[in-house]
């Protein structure tokens, strides 16, 4: 018998309306201890190559981890694993909130959804009581309304609900899965897969928090959390000003993506949409996730316009609907955030696709007539509610935009293609590779398209050797110092890989990457080893944790290789290699040759061939030999 707990998995066949429960032995679970590691392990057992992401053959997997639901900050994250309709690669997306902890508290590590229901349904879970229920009364409803109706129908307020909005129902390629109506599994269009299965929601009954197996030991991590936060300037500022707190700092350095990534400088306008301004104006309060002391989530209100029920915008949202679109009106951004949360859309891809259309209009590739008479021009944030609704409902120009900027550009022709700022058809988040080139490398090679939470960010390597950030990075074997964050060399590739493995492990253990991490965060690598021991009695090491992360990256890569993905897809948009045109970063240029050299080093260091495919030895080293038959 393994010392590691078994995983309990719900297997829901929507075509048959059948629900089964499975157990995965602790021995195997230890190699894939949750999140997308577990999701990938389950998907790769059954899913072959060539599956249409929106067909019943695609599996949609909700997963949490061995640590989820413990009473400590940053452990309540839900991962969705599926084949992405946006990228065509493996799909992967995380969200926080209370739903993830409650799923685990109900006894489940993962839920597999397969097939397609005949009519709209939702899954209800109350411990051993699990049932598919008719969702016809909530199909077509926005998230807030659907949540209200489900609670009324079940006569129970003590529920957590993860659901799709109308965008998911209409299979918009970047539809999200929402919980609390304001926490999003945003990226990769996982909501469209859920919609294709006619699955509206997953509803879990709330229960009591889990207890750590060694409560005294656990208290050494949680008992002094207030002091930990006060002593950690980055984390404290995150709580105070949210993720948007640093927007203006990115602008000050000349690297805030502006006008569809054609510039890094938004001038004085950036101050109007940064987190400190939000705190002084529309912020109504702070919110949190299950058991988290940081409380970084925003709750905003604009009377008659923005309902605090739908939370508030993150940095990514403020940039996507703000500087990407040259919109400096914070209220317009807050409205856009609310509409995305109501209709269930990823704010990054949605804002970026709007910025793409704005540039197409400016360049005459699209006309006002094509845009149903709407004035979709840079700076015009007043169009957001109408346009977001059109996208979600696939009406008029919204139908084309629902495919994302890359597919839309393919339709519009060769002039439009360079204007889609995307990797593997997924729009870029708001961190510029020119400023953070190690992260830019990860944007390119990441297995599910550009992602800013799949590695550590370059600037921490400029910190002095005795700074906390560097001490923690040293635990991953990264002892490097740079005078400038913008360098890209072999050292940065090693940093990118170490960070990627660590973040990949965090996406396996379903940890929030602000609470846990390898540099500035609240808890570091050593505390994580302790949390595993005190929390569930798992005696682990940084080495075992890094291996978990590396295993996940290789499983993802293998999933994609089978579908024909290779080095040709590990690229960055050409626009990013142009010199920066204005502002404080004017003249700075990321050289394509440096990027290509770094990518070749990355493949070599990862044990992959020149085309980005893991070698047999690499898979065997990671106990992934079974993949060779898949």
């Amino acid at each position: 018998m393994s010392v590691f707990p078994d995983a309990k998995i719900l297997d829901v066949d929507l075509s048959k309306g059948a629900i089964d429960t499975k157990t995965l032995s602790g021995e195997i679970y230890r190699l894939y201890p949750g999140g997308s590691s577990l999701g990938l392990y389950l998907a790769l057992q059954e899913m072959g190559a060539g599956i249409d992401p929106l067909s019943p053959e695609n599996m949609l997997i909700f997963s949490v981890s061995v640590l989820t639901g413990l009473p400590i900050s940053g452990q309540s994250r839900l991962t969705i694993t599926t084949k992405s309709p946006l990228t065509g690669t493996i799909g992967d997306s995380q969200s926080g909130g209370f739903f993830p902890a409650q799923l685990k508290i109900n006894g489940y590590d993962a839920i597999i959804f397969r097939g397609k229901s005949e009519k709209p349904v939702y899954l209800y879970i109350d411990g051993e009581k699990v049932a598919l229920k008719d969702a016809s009364s909530v199909w077509g409803k926005v998230t807030g309304e659907a949540e209200k109706i489900i609670k009324e129908e079940l006569e129970d307020e003590q529920l957590e609900i993860a659901q799709i909005g109308p965008a998911g129902e209409n299979m918009v390629k970047y539809a999200s899965i929402m919980n609390m109506s304001n926490r999003a599994n945003g990226r990769n269009g996982t909501g469209a897969v859920m919609g294709s299965k006619l699955l509206k929601a997953v509803v879990v009954k709330k229960g009591k928090a889990r207890k750590a197996v060694d409560q005294e030991g656990f208290k050494t991590l949680t008992g002094n959390v207030k002091e930990r936060i006060t002593e950690n300037e980055g984390v404290e500022a995150l709580g105070q000003f949210g993720t948007d707190g640093e927007l203006n700092s990115h602008n000050r350095d000349g690297f805030l993506p502006t006008r569809n990534f054609s510039s890094g400088y938004f001038g004085d306008s950036a101050k109007k949409i940064t987190g400190t301004t939000m705190a002084k104006t529309i912020l109504k309060g702070r919110d949190t996730c299950f058991s988290c002391a940081i409380r970084c989530k925003r709750v905003v209100e604009v009377e008659g316009k923005v309902d605090p029920f739908y939370g508030g915008p993150e940095y990514e949202t403020c940039a996507a609907f703000g500087s990407f679109c040259q919109t400096e009106n914070l209220e317009d951004i807050a409205v856009a955030n609310q509409y995305c949360n109501m209709y269930g859309l990823d704010t990054i891809s949605c804002g970026a696709t709007i910025a793409f259309v704005m540039e197409c209009m400016e360049k005459g590739i699209l006309t006002k007539e094509d845009a149903d008479g709407m004035d979709i021009t840079f700076g015009n944030g007043s169009i957001y509610p109408e346009l977001i609704k059109k996208i979600a409902l696939r009406e008029g120009i919204g139908n084309m935009m629902a495919e994302g900027s890359y597919r839309m550009a393919e339709k519009l022709g060769p002039e439009a293609l360079p204007l889609s700022v995307s990797v593997k058809k997924q729009e870029l988040p708001a961190h510029m590779p020119q400023y953070k080139p190690a992260m830019g490398l990860i944007y390119a090679v990441n297995n599910f398209g550009a992602d800013h939470q799949s590695c550590e960010h370059d600037p921490f390597l400029t910190m002095p050797a005795d700074a906390k950030e560097q001490v923690w990075l040293g635990m991953l074997g990264i002892n490097l110092q740079y005078d400038d964050q913008k360098t890209l060399d072999d050292g940065k590739v090693r940093f990118a890989i170490a960070g990627q493995k660590f973040y990949s492990m965090m996406d396996s253990l379903c940890l929030c990457q602000f609470s846990w991490g390898p540099s500035w965060q609240l808890y570091g690598p050593a505390e994580l080893v302790d949390a595993c021991k005190y929390g569930i009695g798992w005696e682990t090491s940084v080495q075992e944790l890094m291996d978990i992360g590396e295993r996940r990256i290789n499983m993802m890569r293998w999933f994609n290789v089978r579908d024909g993905f290779s080095a040709k897809d590990d690229v960055l948009p050409e626009r990013l290699f142009d010199p920066m045109p204005n502002g404080p970063s004017e003249g700075h240029q990321m050289k394509k040759a440096d990027f290509e050299k770094a990518r070749a080093s990355y493949y070599g260091f990862m044990g992959w061939d020149n085309d980005g495919k893991p070698t047999e030895a690499t898979l065997r080293k990671l106990s992934l030999n079974w993949l060779l038959d898949k």
Partner: protein, 65 residues
């Protein structure tokens, strides 16, 4: 006395340390600092005295989110 910080002149009191300059610029210790091209350890911010004409470079790391 005058020192430069990221190429801008800064007026500070005689005997000021690096930490005093940082505080006067609204910054904390969570930055990288070079004085006359020499990189400092974080613990030196409290002790290193500045002199007229010193060239100070400060980098503030910006993370994710």
């Amino acid at each position: 006395m005058i020192v430069t910080m990221n190429q801008k002149n800064m007026h500070i009191d005689e005997g000021s340390r690096v930490i005093d300059l940082l505080v006067s610029a609204g910054l904390s210790k969570r930055v990288a600092v070079w004085v006359n091209d020499q990189r400092l350890l974080q613990k030196e911010y409290e002790t290193r005295q500045l002199h007229e004409g010193d060239r100070v470079k400060v980098l503030r790391p910006l993370g994710g989110g």
